[in-house]
Amino acid sequence: MSRRTKLLLKENNEAENRIQNEENESILTDITVYIRSSNINSYYQETVRRDILEMIADGEKRGETAREIIGDDYKLFCDNVIAELPRQSRKEQILSSLRDVLPSADILLLIWLGFQLVSQVNSTDPTLYFTVTAGNIFCAILCIAGAFCVVHAICRNAFDTAAVSGKTVFFTVFALLLICICANVFLPFPLLRVHALTAAGATAAVFALYKILDAKLD
């Protein structure tokens, strides 16, 4: 995220505290979440978030609710706003998705590295070469893809909470975790062996790539 976007994000997060009415606050959150799921870069997302936030704060001072300010159909309002903002190009979209995926991949790498180190410490014949199994790769892809699908579904249905209930999310996450455990148990086929330092270097490289992309995009 560029410096100007970070500043705007910080400013908006602080300004959000000015909204007093709980219902208005909740509507603003839904609007923000819905706009975040669109193919618009973060800077424009924060720009319209600021406009809408100030619009609601100003209306609140006049004693109006978000419904009176925006109208009854929040989704239509958001769709109309999104339609007027510049879309990200295919390249920007791919790089943004990659930027969003990298931190999750890095955390998974760190967890895997931690597990490998612990198992080697407890092993009778410890080694610094770790085996990457088919189950590990399958599990990592499933975790990242699953998490993104769940987040996307929640964001796209911000105005229709019945469409993605808490129960649905819980059971989906539970099912994903179960599949991951099964994959690690039933797919133990080794794909490659890496040295601990190589794995640590890869973790650092993924983080560095994330930081570079984050600074360049938006």
Partner: protein, 112 residues
């Protein structure tokens, strides 16, 4: 009440006209539209339209502090916006003349 479909094509020009009078903000535009007889048009309807006008460089926007506290986004017309407003009035006159002509003809027909 003016049907929304009929309003759709003219609202952009009318908003431009209101902004051309003086630098103004969303809520004030909505209030002025009401005073002119357009009915209740929420800021939620006007905001995407203002974004489009800004994107097309017909208006420019600046944030200013308000007496109520929250900052307001004030809009003013650009040179390009002025030209667009003239075009809108010209097109609207043509449309209005055509519809009036038709209505006069119809009324004449009915009287006969």
């Amino acid at each position: 009440m003016i049907p929304s479909q009929m309003l759709k094509g003219t609202l952009e020009g009318c908003v431009l006209a209101i902004i051309s009078k003086e630098e103004t903000y969303g809520y004030e535009i909505s209030e002025q539209l009401m005073e002119y007889g357009f009915g209740k048009i929420t800021e939620g309807t006007i905001y995407p339209l203002l974004l489009r006008l800004e994107k097309n460089e017909l208006i420019s926007a600046t944030y200013k502090a308000s007496e109520l506290g929250p900052r307001r986004k004030y809009y003013k017309l650009t040179e390009k916006g002025n030209d667009a407003l003239e075009d809108f009035f010209q097109s609207y006159r043509e449309l209005s003349d055509a519809v009036n002509h038709l209505m006069r003809d119809m009324q004449g027909g009915i009287q006969k």
